[in-house]
């Protein structure tokens, strides 16, 4: 059988299209996304025995039962009975590293955020777990008093002005039609804008070839607001995440996504 081959899809920076350049750019980046490679490495790490107890994370309960990955990410953050607090994915992964694998919190957090050359364990794991929620509706916990408390705190934090520049989340994400360069600034207090965004985090960033988690996203917003760095997995970050995720409730998860 003879075959002719047509070459190749490269990804150059697109020229500004006439209509909806944002949408077109997002589509182009998504087509060239290597995000599945991160899921593959994440799977290895999930199944790899580690820590003093030399066990894998396969027995980690992400809210749907021990080791259940299907739809788990889409139902986070949520309240966990064993710790009596609200946890998002990364906070829960860290919890499993310390409880199941017997690793110390310090060891688990030595390098929560990686770079292009060496992505972090947390990033790989996030990609793997989140990939199992494709097609599931975003539906964070909303019934337990602690979940309601977390939502209320997150909502409050969204509007609290703080830091050297007296910024709140709403300073950038509270008004329609704003953008920074080629990135639209979605109004995250509105479901319409929050849904497509939360449906695609965590995500691969094409501009610096890194995989980014939600904790990183929130941390980095606070960095840009010039506040002290929030603790990894802190109540604050979890609450902001809870507020954003709850606002996006009902969206169909289609991540891990690809960003500019």
């Amino acid at each position: 059988m003879t075959r002719l081959c047509l070459v190749l899809a490269f990804f150059c920076v697109p020229a500004l299209a006439q209509d909806s350049p944002f949408a077109k750019y997002q589509q182009m980046t998504a087509e060239g996304s290597p995000v599945e490679l991160f899921e593959l490495v994440g799977e290895e790490l999930w199944k790899k025995p580690q820590g003093p107890n030399n066990v894998s994370l396969e027995k980690c309960d992400l809210g749907k039962g021990q080791g259940v990955l299907k739809g788990a990410y889409a139902a986070l953050p949520r309240w966990f009975k064993d710790v009596d607090r609200v946890m998002d994915l990364e906070t829960r992964l860290l919890h499993c590293m310390t409880t199941l694998q017997g690793r110390s919190r310090e060891e688990g957090l030595k390098r929560p955020f990686g770079n292009a050359d060496t992505p972090s364990e947390m990033e790989y794991l996030s990609a793997y777990v989140a990939g199992h929620s494709r097609g599931f509706k975003v539906n964070p916990g909303a019934s337990h008093p602690k979940e309601k408390e977390s939502y209320a705190l997150g909502q409050k934090l969204f509007y609290v002005r703080t830091g050297l520049w007296d910024f709140s989340c709403a300073s950038c994400h509270g008004e329609a039609g704003k953008r920074i360069r080629m990135s639209e600034l979605p109004v995250l207090s509105e479901p319409k804008a929050a849904r497509p965004l939360m449906a695609t985090w965590p995500a691969y960033r094409v501009s610096n070839s890194t995989f980014k988690t939600m904790q990183w996203r929130i941390n980095n917003c606070y960095r840009q607001m010039r506040t002290p760095e929030p603790d990894f997995g802190s109540e604050t970050v979890n609450a902001v995440n809870m507020y954003l995720t709850a606002t996006a409730k009902g969206a169909t998860y289609r991540g891990p996504g690809t960003k500019r």
């Binding site: 081959c5 490269f10 593959l40």
Partner: protein, 97 residues
């Protein structure tokens, strides 16, 4: 050691569409690290080479390629391999679905 690869090979309208993901740093001359990039990409169908490509540093890190091959049948064995300037190599095989 080379990181993972992933491939999807599907029949669509009489053609075989390939989508291949490769893990590679694709370091350019601009970086302070040693030059490290994929030089050759080869696509084989049932053992026969149908495409040989030379690529350069101009390709992004963790590249994704799509190829369209004329014809094809379910179960055809596709093999995609790369060779970089440091002699590292990796390949992936899958059957057309």
């Amino acid at each position: 050691m080379a990181g993972p690869m992933k491939m999807r090979a599907t029949l669509a309208g009489g053609n075989t569409d390939l989508r291949v993901l490769m893990t590679h740093p694709m370091t350019t001359a601009q970086s302070k690290q040693p030059l490290h990039f994929i030089q050759n990409v080869t696509v084989k169908v049932n053992g026969k080479t149908v495409l040989e490509g030379e690529i350069s540093q101009a390709v992004s890190r963790n590249p994704v390629f799509t190829f369209r091959l004329k014809g094809g049948a379910k179960g055809d064995k596709i093999e995609v391999s790369w060779l970089d300037n440091q002699g590292d190599t990796n390949k992936i095989e899958s059957a057309v679905a």
